[in-house]
């Protein structure tokens, strides 16, 4: 800055102002000679004022920049047309200084002068690059997830749909974009899903549920466990919903296998009682057949023998049929109308042998003769089988097993009460945990009640235990009536 005494105060002020601006400002004439520059340009370009002012642009800017930006041509154009050029990008590296990024504008100010303003945007540029990188990373997290991740607007219209969603549903993003999410749900569950979206508008909490997603390509559905979360903007206003879904098929398969193998274990427990019970009718048949082989028998006795044989074969076969029905893999999980009373009676028939062997009396008390629930017969039978076997195990020296069925409002309550060893207060809340068992190693797996719990939950019911050590136990199953 020269201390020229001829400068008036306006000029001095103008120069001060120019130097204070955090941008580089250059005045250039028609011959592309630099007329003046501000302080900022000298600092950024690492040049002295003498080596800059009065020099041609081509000497001040590196050749690469001139070539890559075509800035000289742009300036000539501005002189020619009088129209400003704004917001062009330029990367500039002064010797010994890291690369900087500028936005520049060329503005005509007089007939033979333009002003070149260069704004250093390196930092902003770096930040926006960073934002873009984070965005890309987030997007790839969502894309790589094996769970379904989708977002919707506030009314439930799909905005994003990740590749897991595409893969599981067979629907591409284009096919679902802008459409209501509940259009891709099972018809019976549509209204429920619609209500969840309604709730998301005002709720702060996530909502967890299970329902089927349509897979139109094979005109089927898949069962998914869903979590709905409201998506908020900076002002905590709900702007949409994020939905994450996990395919339950694999888990269901394992659960089925576990239930099945636990059932086989229960069958093993009953083997003793079954042996006794089947050998009785066998013994009767065998002896009666031997009578028939004797020589002088009366017609009446012959008939009596034949009748006994038939009746006892029937008896043995009934025992086997019950067993088969229980052992049969209940792979069907479809909920149908089930008569709870006949489930309980059939299950009691199955454990009667075992109970008899252990001198246990079974009482069944009914209010009604027919109680209908929605359920899977085989699974409900497995539940009561487990509960009965536990009660029988708790009464090694005999006792009474009572089964009481009551309906209260829209529920049915089944109480299974025994006079066995009971459960200590500290153990009571653990008995539904998997692998919690008081049986010796190799005899109980501790899975019985945890499987009962999961089956009853699947039937939208509940299961509880009441007991005191030494005073028997009550297992209480509640199910919704149909």
């Amino acid at each position: 800055m020269s201390e020229n005494p001829t400068k008036n105060s306006f000029e001095i002020q103008y120069e001060m102002l120019l130097n204070a601006i955090p941008s580089s400002v250059l005045m250039v004439d028609r011959k592309l000679q630099i007329l003046s520059v501000n302080e900022n340009f000298l600092i950024k370009s690492q040049r002295s004022k003498d080596a800059t002012v009065g020099r041609p642009l081509a000497e001040v800017f590196p050749l690469v920049i001139l070539q890559s930006t075509g800035i000289e041509e742009s300036i000539r154009n501005v002189f020619h047309t009088g129209i400003a050029v704004k917001g062009q990008k330029m990367t500039y590296r002064a010797p010994g200084v890291p690369l900087r990024i500028y936005y520049y504008s060329i503005l005509p100010i007089q007939i033979d002068q333009i002003i070149l303003i260069m704004e250093d945007v390196t930092e902003q540029f770096r930040l926006s690059e960073e934002v873009r990188r984070v965005e890309r990373h987030l997007a790839s997290v969502v894309e790589s997830a094996s769970d379904i991740v989708l977002s919707t607007d506030i009314d439930g219209r799909i905005l994003t749909w990740n590749s897991a969603a595409e893969k599981l549903s067979g629907l591409s993003t284009q096919e679902v974009y802008g459409r209501y999410f509940f259009d891709f749900c099972d018809l019976s569950q549509k209204q429920m899903v619609q209500q969840i979206f309604q709730r998301m508008k005002t709720s702060n909490a996530a909502h967890t549920t299970e329902f089927n997603l349509l897979t139109p390509s094979n005109s089927g559905t898949i069962l998914i466990s869903w979590v709905f979360s409201p998506m908020k903007d900076d002002y905590s206003k709900t702007v949409g919903t994020v939905v994450v879904g996990r395919d339950l098929a694999e888990r269901r398969k394992l659960e089925l296998q576990l239930r099945q193998s636990q059932k086989l274990t229960a069958l093993g427990v009953m083997a003793g009682g079954i042996a006794h019970e089947i050998r009785n009718p066998l013994a009767v048949c065998s002896s009666a057949a031997q009578f028939l082989q004797e020589n002088q028998i009366s017609d009446d006795f012959q008939k009596e023998c034949a009748k006994k044989i038939q009746a006892n074969i029937q008896k043995a076969s009934a025992i086997i049929e019950n067993l088969l029905r229980f052992a049969r893999s209940s792979l069907d999980t479809e909920m149908v109308e089930v008569d709870l009373i006949s489930v309980l009676k059939e299950t009691i028939d199955l454990v009667t042998n075992q109970a008899k062997v252990q001198k246990i009396k079974i009482h069944l008390s009914l209010q009604k003769n027919n109680i209908v629930v929605s359920g899977v017969q085989g699974l409900l039978q497995q539940v009561f089988m487990n509960i009965f076997l536990n009660a029988i195990n708790a009464m090694p020296t005999g006792g009474v097993l009572s089964v009481a069925i009551n309906t209260v409002e829209d529920r049915v309550i089944v109480r299974v009460i025994d006079t066995g060893v009971g459960i200590a207060a500290g153990e009571l809340d653990k008995i539904f945990d998997p692998f919690h068992t008081s049986s010796p190693v190799g005899q109980g797996t501790g899975l019985g009640l945890s499987i009962c719990y999961s089956i009853i939950r699947q039937h939208l019911g509940s299961i509880q235990a009441e007991s005191r050590l030494g005073q028997g136990a009550a297992i209480i199953v509640t199910l919704p009536l149909l």
Binding site: S286, S287, K308
Partner: protein, 123 residues
């Protein structure tokens, strides 16, 4: 030797079978369907042989045998008839060694076998 035989089984058809097998032997056949009833009849009457089922609704057959052992002065010969045990079942062997039962018959059995046991025991 008296001629009273008691058949203890909760299954009426089993009692029928056993009594059919032994009825031509000129014996008096009685039946009991529960352990309690068996103990009662044994404490009242005089029996030479008891055919005893191993699993009764109220008691274990072997417990009935044990009660007879201590309770009755003129002890009958006890035959354990069972579909629950097998021949060399340790429980059965122990009971035999203790003298609580004199022999074991597995269900189903041959009528011949039951008869020969009865004849052997009453001679």
């Amino acid at each position: 030797m008296n001629k009273n035989v008691l058949i203890v089984d909760d299954e009426p058809d089993m009692c029928w079978v056993v009594s059919q097998i032994i009825q031509l032997q000129g014996l008096n056949v009685f039946t009991a369907y529960t352990g309690e009833d068996a103990c009662f009849k044994l404490s009242k009457g005089d029996f030479s042989v008891v055919f005893l089922d191993a699993k009764l609704p109220d008691m274990d057959g072997l417990d009935v045998a044990r009660r007879i052992h201590t309770m009755v002065k003129e002890r009958p010969q006890v035959v354990l008839v069972s579909g629950y045990h097998y021949r060399d079942d340790p429980v059965v062997r122990n009971a035999q060694e203790e003298g609580i039962i004199c022999c074991f018959l597995a269900k189903p059995f041959s009528n011949e076998e039951l008869l020969s046991i009865l004849i052997a025991l009453s001679s």
